[in-house]
Amino acid sequence: MSVDWLQILDAEGNVEEDLEPKLDNGMLEKFYRTMVLTRLFDDKALKLQRQGRMLTYGSSLGQEASVIGSAYAMNPDDWFFPSFREHGAQIARGIPLKLLYTYWMGHEDANLSLPYRNFPVAIPVSTQIPHAVGAAWAAKILKQNIASVVYFGDGATSEGDFHEGLNFAGVFKTPTVFICQNNQYAISMPRERQTASKTLAQKALAYGFEGVQVDGNDVLAVYSATKAALDKARAGGGPAMIECFTYRMSAHTTSDDPTKYRQMAEVEEWKKKDPIKRFQIYLSKKGIWSQDYENNLTKELTEQVEKAVEEAESFKPDVENMFRYVYAEMPPHLREQKDELLAYVSKKMGR
């Protein structure tokens, strides 16, 4: 059993011209900009977490191309179901940095302003997969020309909801694109201990649809594969799975110590395949990138990040929201519990 492998831009920044997508410079710059912004966003998040200013956080270092290339392949009105490591995809989808930081600082209220068809992050592994299938299925029933995209990791492919979701998608030919972020580890568990399958993409074949493996550190390959899958899905061609072969350069989350289960030499090898570096070379050959360009960009984006953090940190939670959004209409027992808490809060404030 074998699946196709797609790489357009190799680790040295050489491009496979026959496969190169026809993108204008503006789009290429957008890819680059969002990858750099995501890395700065991540870096800041880790620092904030260490200072106790953020929750446990999963960095997407090294996976920027695979989340951003796929996100930019979507139409704005396509459904987006992220897992918890797709900060770059969220940024590409237009979710303000301020909201992302606000969420990871511990406010559900950040999700109040999510643009439509951008689902909040799903913390439990793989459970969002059937949602994406259902949303795409609904689009088909409602005759809307939209598709859904769902993100999950290599570990998720061992979960029951992965199987059930892909099986339903195959049976009902829903316009769903499954983006597997194969970053080689599910916390400490290496990819080869997760499944005996040679590739993750080949699992799609068992459900009766196409699965491809792409170089997840090649933003052009990820973009092209996702775009093709989405166009086909919207045209009634059914679902597809894309395995982005990438690497989690950072720890699983800020609570994890990867030195316990992987060798630094392996990380060093993957550093050579950095997604931003190779795209930089590509843009440099196109006359877009230069050291000055980099300096200006970094300065501008760092300011954006700092401003977003400042705004997020000034966010004040509303304690009543704990009760307000459980049901459309607050039932009597919740009204009572809310009053009980508010009485305590006002007593505390009065002290």
Partner: protein
Amino acid sequence: MAKFNMVQALNLALREEMERDPTVLVMGEDVGVDGGVFRVTEGLLNKFGSERVIDTPLAESGIVGTAIGMAVSGLKPVAEIQFEGFSYLTIDQLAAHASRIRYRSRGTYHCPLVMRSPYGGGVKALEHHSEAVATFFIHIPGLKVVIPSSPYDAKGLLISAIRDPDPVIFFEPKRLYRAFREEVPEGEYTVPLGEGKKLTEGDDITLISWGSMARVCLEALQQVKDVSVELIDLRTLSPMDERIIIESIKKTGRAAVVHEEPRTLGPGAEVVARINEKAFLYLEAPVKRLTGYDVPVPLPKLEDYYLPDAERVADAIKEVMAF
């Protein structure tokens, strides 16, 4: 007016809601061609087609998980889980997602799905086909849990459940599916969620129950004709109609709660706790719990020992009265 059993009343509710609202659809194992193993969805496939009456693969989490995706996209899926003993597989999707999508997204999305499932014992079935599982779902904030005890209520409650903007778990006591017929109007009427109903009015003791146990309680009243019993059918277990219970107890001063679920942390425990909080000083006797035991539901040869029956309900009433 036509007389219907509960299966027919539920079928009528689905049919009328699907006619009224094109976003309502039915999905589950064997609900289409077969019309459901209890025939609740019979005839719907022919009338509404396979896009709205969907025979799904055999996967409970997949059914509820995809229904969530549909519900947030503007459809109103009514997902059938063939037996309540298989509903454990849905709890992850319901607890982790359906129940908290409104909360997590701060109202940006909501999840108007209904999960229907046959429920409870008394039909001499296989293992996993006779369970009273409401407790698990009541314990999940964000869900509503409904259990009708009559054809009339079944139709009116199912319509309310379908129209409700939040996820509703709708348990159908399978023992009552074809137990009796009563007048069920065709055309629109609803029974509101969250409201109990007095099946009898009385002054001596309040009897609180739901589902097939509410019918067992009614039967028991024949054995205690000298006691004036106020029998409350809660109908919705979450949110629970606390007001109807407390008002009744302020009048009677005595109470018993009867259910099929195992006793420990069962719905009766919540009923007793609320009585303690709101009507303790009105009580003349401890509140009695007559329930399933804290054991797995036995196979049919021992099932009658597990389920409260009319005589045991009558004994419970006498016990509370004698205190």
